[in-house]
Symmetry: C2
Subunit: 244 residues, 2 copies
DNA sequence: AGTGTTTGAATTGCATGCAATCATATGTCA
DNA sequence: TGACATATGATTGCATGCAATTCAAACACT
């Protein structure tokens, strides 16, 4: 899912996307100090596009910077994740409510149904490997994106996009769980999806809202595991603690 | 209310704040094309800080830019305002709920009470002039900021800040109303404030949430008036607004 | 030894030059 | 006369140089 419009030949956009990926995938350890010249030589461009990109990522809160003192990769605490997930749940709930209130086109309904069917197959297959989780995540994202589309509120869509860029989102949640719990999580998730579709079909705004809120809070319970997982991935001693 | 941390001697920050002000105050007409060199000579700096500032304002959606084709001041339609206000209402509702659920310190409660008392005086005075509206707006903002503080969710605070930067927010709403309607609006607003405080005191999360949601939707009814007012204001050739 | 000061390397912040891109106006041909 | 191609001017995008600031280590001093 592209966040911005079509990727131009533009170097700044490319650098921004590249850096975002590096951070989100954990290639740049949290808390790591990044210098303009360092990134410039890493990505083979001059400091100018780097500078622009860092300003953008600062707005996205993926890096934090102090004036005259450069930037460092943001460190997400457990509390940060909790807060972001809560905001996200509220916004997703709003999307579900709007979707129920405004109603959906036949095509949109078909899309939701298709997502649910495909998830159903996936779960029924009993598979529990990397590819399955990946696929689950993709369909899940598509389902939510469709509801957001039905909600038809551009400001809401933007706000949601802004709370989306977390390191290790969604799919990785499943990796850190034992097999049976992963299967259980997918089943519960799927049950929510069905209820959501039902609520939206019947224009039950409040029900849709609170179903979605709860649904979007699922990651909350596993946030601690995620943090551990992240820290484990960051075995490299991120230059001691805070410094600033 | 400062959006960023303390203003440094930094030129880019200054330019960003300056441009933001120009746009929010309507000195730069909506839809106006802005060139880097134009702004550079206007603000007496080189293109570099302008460039950074525009990138920031683009993230804030105050300007929109196409690659290789520069930027223009964003044009807010009635629909845009409606959508933003709805998102804002949802987020403010969340803040109120969290505030009720988490509870407030004595000092925070005192602040809320003081806001309410001061608003009460203001309304009782029956005054209906520029200064009154200004003061009303200030106290109102303080009231909401305090609730957001009580909610104690940094991600939520950030999301709210991001939906705050609208041209002509809050206070100007009152200017465009006839005297009796303005007084009525302030009274209704005040009644909501009292109920909100009561709900938060009693830890009634759901009640607080929906009271706040409705409360934050008040501007919705007047959005059309706002748009008219904005368009009217833009017939004046901008430079008149003091500044330069 | 501990604290305050100074000096220097590293880095950011800003200005400017140049190439690439886009918009507009001009010219050519059917 | 109209449509297409071309050329020119303006503007953006990027690279680089230089001044200003910061951080850290060495030094002097109490």
């Amino acid at each position: 899912m592209q966040l911005r419009e079509a990727s131009s030949t533009n170097s700044t956009e490319a650098v921004t996307a590249r850096l975002r990926e590096l951070i989100l995938r954990g290639a740049l350890p949290q808390g790591e100090r990044v210098t303009e010249s360092g990134l410039a030589s890493l990505l083979q461009v001059s400091r100018t596009p780097i500078r622009l990109a860092l300003a953008t990522l600062q707005q996205e809160e993926l890096v934090e910077g102090a004036p005259n003192r450069g930037f460092r990769v943001r460190r997400f605490t457990l509390e940060d994740l909790r807060e972001i997930i809560e905001v996200r749940a509220t916004l997703e709930g709003m999307a579900a409510r709007l979707a129920a209130e405004k109603g959906m086109s036949q095509q949109q309904e078909d899309t939701l149904v298709r997502c649910i069917d495909e998830l159903e197959e996936l779960i029924a297959s009993g598979a529990c490997d990397h590819a399955t989780f990946q696929r689950f995540s993709e369909i899940n994202i598509a389902f939510h994106a469709t509801i957001t589309e039905i909600a038809a509120n551009a400001a809401l869509t933007r706000s949601l996009e802004r709370t989306t860029n977390l390191p290790f989102r969604s799919a990785p949640m499943l990796y850190v769980l034992p097999r049976d719990e992963a299967l259980m999580a997918m089943s519960e998730s799927q049950r929510d999806h069905k209820r959501l579709l039902d609520a939206i079909r019947q224009c039950q705004g409040a029900r849709a809202e609170f179903l979605m809120r709860e649904h979007a809070l699922i990651p909350l319970a596993k946030a601690a595991l995620l943090i551990e997982h992240m820290d484990a991935a960051l075995t490299i001693p991120a230059a001691a603690d805070g410094t600033f």
